[in-house]
Symmetry: C2
Subunit: 364 residues, 2 copies
């Protein structure tokens, strides 16, 4: 067991000490005024992070649960939707759609590339039956951030919901739900929000809300009507993950104390620094339009990317991320979101450099 544990993965990310401590406090009951006060505070705090005046619902679930909620509450079987597939999480959207008998038209984008806003606009203009467009803010598996502002602008006035998985992007890449015309926005606890995994969020704009009653897909645990009713009393329909919600309060307080703008600026600076260092190491960046939350780099052809990461984790206690799905072994990813500091990034990059140099020497 290595003496330290440094997480530089795009989820889970390191959790600040006061958040860890808050989660170790004895539990209290969730059907109390004390919990309602807490849940009001975090629900309002989340609205400020999503930059929306619409309600944000909290599920006890992984982020994928909120992705499913964003489809099942607003669609009926056979509905046509457009899914941007530029990586593992785009793919997840159409897998969920398929499981629920939605007709998903897939806009395939090569891994590492950003989707063209014009292409989305064209696809939507061509097919007036499209009920929604689903895509990521940051496609975590490739480190690409999409131009949601421009995509939102082009879809304005179209009769089609814009559904954004901002799980890894939120509080790292700029995101403005209301200003950009986004109808549904999804996030999770274990990324920019600096919490352990276990909470998923769904912000529901007014236009989307109006489509809920007509949506016939079966649902229960993720049925927003139940959450909507409960949120009127700052409550949830089912027992919430209380300790994580307590932690969320501390994490949101930290974010508000630093200020979201400063955090976004810090992520940007850290991302630029990371990309510069990666280039200096002679590695090629993978993402055409790189996220400020995570940097992906190509693994040199002669190197086994998975093996390198394994060695760094075992020897140094530092966890970097590899590629997912068809990118396995092809790329290495390092996160710079949430509680991750420049010093952490330096540790990760130096460990990577050393490991790559050793491999180079061994192979010569």
């Amino acid at each position: 067991m290595p003496p330290r544990r440094l997480l530089l993965t795009p989820g889970p990310t390191p959790v600040p000490p006061e958040v860890l401590r808050a989660q170790a406090e004895p539990l209290f009951h969730h059907r109390t005024a004390e919990y309602q006060k807490l849940f009001e505070e975090v629900s309002r705090g989340l609205q400020r992070i999503f930059k929306t005046r619409s309600p944000v619902y909290t599920f006890t679930a992984s982020g994928t649960g909120a992705m499913e909620a964003s489809l099942v509450n607003f669609h009926s079987a056979g509905d046509e939707i457009l899914v941007v597939d530029a990586g593992k999480f785009g793919e997840r959207f159409w897998r969920i759609a398929k499981a629920h008998a939605l007709k998903a038209q897939i806009l395939k984008v090569p891994y590492g590339k950003a989707v063209s806003p014009a292409e989305i606009e064209e696809a939507v203009s061509k097919n007036p039956n499209l009920k929604s467009v689903c895509l990521q803010l940051c496609e975590t598996s490739t480190g690409v951030v999409f131009d949601l502002k421009e995509i939102g602008r082009r879809l304005r006035g179209k009769n089609c919901l814009l559904i954004v998985d901002a799980i890894s992007g939120l509080a790292a890449d700029r995101f403005e739900m209301d200003a950009w015309g986004i109808d549904l926005a999804i996030s999770g606890s274990q990324k920019g929000l600096m919490l352990p995994p276990g909470l998923a969020f769904l912000a529901v704009g007014e236009r989307a809300r109006q489509q809920m009653t007509g949506a016939m897909l079966p649902r229960f645990y993720f049925d927003l009507a139940l959450y909507e009713k409960a949120l009127k009393d700052w409550d949830t329909p089912f027992t919430p993950a209380i300790s994580l919600v307590v932690g969320l309060k501390e994490a949101l307080r930290r974010i508000e104390k630093e200020g979201l703008e400063k955090i976004l600026k810090r992520s940007e600076t850290l991302a630029e620094y990371t990309r510069g260092e990666v280039r200096k190491m002679g590695l090629e960046l993978f993402a055409e339009r790189p996220s400020n939350g995570v940097t992906a780099m190509k693994v040199p052809a002669e190197i086994d990317g998975e093996k390198i990461l394994y060695e760094i984790r075992e020897k140094e206690g530092i966890t970097l991320a590899g590629g997912q799905g068809e990118m396995k072994g092809e790329i290495i990813r390092i996160a710079h979101m949430g509680f991750i500091q420049k010093e952490d990034i330096d540790c990760g990059l130096r460990a990577l450099e050393t490991a790559l140099q050793k491999k180079g020497t061994q192979q010569r």
Copy 2:
């Protein structure tokens, strides 16, 4: 804010200090050998608690998520099922069934009463189309434990799944999944397992497993096929609530150290003691067949049950549970499962006695 916080509710229950501490440890990544080892340990530990050789799947969700999983993975729209409704959680089963267009035949049992095993056998014999029987081990809302051993015996050889919500009963009331012929068993983290809420469990027997592929209800987040594939590598398909799983390891170690048999015996003794004390206070017990996990008592007609509980919580920092749904204000419930000790029960009962006496004096 009262100086202490004593939870005597049938979920969440108090969490032992070493479990709280474990959850405050810095996170590690879940796609690692370290996590696989942890997840193997807890998954095998859960099998011993459920008393089954079949796999137990862990969801990041409230217990209700696992209830939904127990229906959507084994049924198709229009399937007929029998639901025992003897309280709020029986009712939840048929609400989930209704949301998924199952034809639920309801066996209504008056609140506070236990379902008759003979009635279940009769209903199943009369309707050969029934695909499953759904009921609780302990109906938490009334404090009644059902005779699952006898129900299992009477359904043996019938072509019908026996689905048991053991959320509040597990590790408090005796439960033997394999020996009693139970096909699917559900539980949650925040009851006898002494964890915060956020994890739900589903143990899947072989006969149930064989029906998965033919079950056509749409599902994704709760699709067991994905969990089954992942569990082969002691993994989950979606990012798990890592800190809760770390806590679960500690909780299971505590349970194994004391021994499940001893814990069941201790719950039984504590339940008998509690019922005796309640009777001494001149209160009437509510449950016909009382659970060893929670004791329900009737609130005297002249007393406002909800107000009493509010006062005890505000003044003493002790949380007792009231009635749920149509039982609101009618009953008071006190839990004696998991980490709850005799001293805690005494504190709760004395606080209740004092509050009831004051009310009596005021009204005279």
